[in-house]
């Protein structure tokens, strides 16, 4: 249910995101000033062909992961859900890696097959987590997290196996998934992100009230008029789509989907009205910032951005886990 604090938060994020995107254009191993665009073709190439698509991708992938995290937390009724933690990103990476191995191509930039395979992998992982996480018909956090560990381990092993037999271009292209990086993002995958991420976030905002009611429990939500099966299927497909798109473009970037929705909940309250927009914008901001650090902190070398988000996110996850444990164990869900 939108309220003034939620609206103010969304408005602030809506202003901050383009500002940070603009600022990020001028950050990188090569110093470029806005004035140089008028008379330096190299500066134009750096800004428009390298940095602009990458910054747009950072914003859209961050948005996809933030929204996917908020959605998974709503669907699983649990604040510890994150696409990477519960195995959804691992499934997406495995799907994409399989497609690359079959195609024998190192290019992630072209065509639909890789994002499609990532979506299918994410969907399979989400359904598997859902099935394994339900104990006597009720989702249990401990079971969800353990299922996530198992799926991540399995997906990691299978990706590793594919790498063992892969040729050089595939090896190069696949390796970056292990860490998550925005270096390979090009216009075609960017177009796909532009085309699908904003409508998905808008659609989720329209389902916010149903997701609020859903927090009462399956049966109570049905009593209140929610088609629970449909809502769950919609959620599973959208979470898989958002995660699949992010992973197909940039590999596994963890913890954005955990941290950002959590902060938005702290700032805006537990209701879902505005949560998806806020989490998408917050995710965009966080990944833009992390990518700017990744590009510059060790220049001319680049730190994989997934490592940075993991460095931030893993301690946060431990803190959150400890808090949940102190609140009554891992049986909630």
């Amino acid at each position: 249910m939108p309220k003034p604090a939620v609206d103010r938060l969304a408005a602030g994020l809506l202003v901050a995101t383009p500002l940070l995107m603009f600022a990020a254009l001028w950050v990188g191993p090569v110093a470029v000033s806005p004035a140089a665009l008028f008379d330096d073709p190299v500066a134009r190439t750096i800004v428009f062909e390298l940095r602009l698509p990458r910054i747009l991708a950072a914003a859209l992938i961050g948005a996809a992961l933030g929204a996917a995290g908020a959605l998974l937390q709503a669907l699983l009724r649990n604040p510890l859900a994150d696409p990477a933690l519960i195995g959804v990103s691992g499934g997406a990476a495995l799907g994409a890696a399989c497609m690359l191995a079959i195609g024998g191509s190192g290019s992630l930039a072209l065509g639909l097959p890789v994002p499609l395979a990532a979506f299918v992998g994410a969907l399979a992982a989400t359904l598997l987590v859902w099935r394994l996480g339900a104990v006597r018909g009720h989702l249990q956090l401990s079971a969800i997290l353990l299922a996530g560990i198992a799926i991540n381990t399995l997906a990691g092993a299978l990706v590793g196996l594919l790498l063992t037999f892969a040729n050089d271009p595939v090896l190069r292209a696949t390796t970056f998934w292990l860490f998550g990086s925005l270096t390979e993002v090009r216009w075609p995958s960017l177009l796909l992100l532009m085309l699908l991420v904003p409508p998905a976030v808008i659609h989720l905002e329209r389902r916010a009230i149903a997701l609020d009611v859903y927090q009462l429990g399956d049966m109570e939500a049905r009593h209140a008029g929610t088609d629970v099966r449909r809502l769950q299927w919609e959620g599973v497909i959208l979470a898989s789509l958002l995660t699949g798109l992010a992973v197909a473009s940039a590999g596994i970037i963890g913890f954005i989907g955990l941290m950002v929705p959590h902060f938005m909940r702290l700032l805006g309250g537990p209701g879902h009205g505005g949560r998806f927009l806020q989490s998408a914008l917050g995710g965009a901001l966080l990944l833009l910032f992390a990518d700017a650090v990744a590009r510059t902190a060790a220049a001319p070398a680049e730190i994989p951005v997934g490592l940075l988000t993991a460095l931030l996110g893993a301690p946060f996850f431990l803190w959150l886990l400890r808090r949940e444990l102190s609140r009554g164990g891992l049986a909630g869900g």
Partner: protein, 262 residues
């Protein structure tokens, strides 16, 4: 109207309800009593559309509730289940409004006021006691029913233990709120364990035992010593409340279910 015709229900291989024939008319408060495991919640589940009868039929406003889409069903009945599982720190005002999302704050406060707990409006749901949570959930159910009424429907209120965990005063207040809704033409079916309270407030009392209807009718008539023996397996003396309505139940100290000795 709710009609159960030869309705039976089997769950997990166990017969929960057997050949139940009932007709509920709107406009009265119907108390549904019986021992644990008698089939009360299952009967509510059948009427609410949560469960489909294994044989026989159930109709709610002339439709089979188990086959009705949830959004339509939400206009025909509002249900209070035993344990809603809301674990997020929602403000009470937002939980109440889950029954009818666009409800103005004044109306949310007024429905809580009717239940004697307007002071809860600005509290956090997860910080409330079990009884207070029940009241907030009941307020949510009332708002759902009011929304349906506003859209021209006459929804049923199907309530599974609405006064459980409530103190004496709040239980009375809830019963008055339920009677007020029945007086406005809504049908109210409430599962209750306090049979004295039920007998004082319900216009009709239904006693279930072992999945069958044991007694049905005016509370003073339905609650006989024989009914208590059959349903609860207790020896008790029933005294009519004076002034009525209602009864007092004095359970004999030596009675009660016994586990056969080995």
């Amino acid at each position: 109207m709710i009609i159960l015709s030869h309705a039976s229900l089997v769950r997990g291989g166990r017969s929960v309800l057997q050949d139940v024939n009932l007709a509920f008319e709107p406009g009265e408060l119907i108390g549904l009593c019986g021992p644990n495991g008698a089939g009360k919640s299952s009967l509510i589940g059948l009427c609410a559309g949560d469960l489909a009868p294994s044989s026989g039929s159930v109709s709610l406003h002339d439709i089979a509730p188990a086959l009705c889409p949830p959004d339509e069903l939400a206009l025909l009945r509002a249900v209070m289940s035993q344990n809603p599982a809301l674990e997020h720190p929602f403000p009470v005002a937002e939980v109440v409004a889950l029954g009818s999302p666009a409800t103005p704050m004044a109306d949310r406060e007024s429905v809580l006021h009717e239940l004697g707990c307007a002071d809860l409006l600005r509290r956090i749901y997860t910080e409330l006691s079990g009884g207070e949570r029940r009241l907030v959930q009941l307020a949510r159910i009332f708002l759902q029913a009011e929304r349906a009424t506003g859209l021209g429907h006459r929804p049923w209120l199907l309530l599974d233990e609405p006064v459980s965990q409530l103190d004496l005063g709040r239980s009375q207040q809830v019963m008055h709120a339920l009677k007020a809704r029945a007086a406005r033409g809504l049908g109210v079916v409430a599962v209750m364990h306090d049979i004295e309270l039920a007998s004082r407030h319900a216009e009709r009392l239904l006693v279930l035992g072992h999945g069958r209807v044991i007694a049905d009718g005016d509370p003073n008539a339905a609650l006989s010593e024989d009914t208590l023996r059959q349903a609860w397996q207790v020896e008790a003396r029933i005294e009519a409340e004076s002034p009525g309505p209602g009864v007092r139940v004095r359970v004999m100290a030596s009675s009660g279910r016994r586990t056969p000795a080995n």
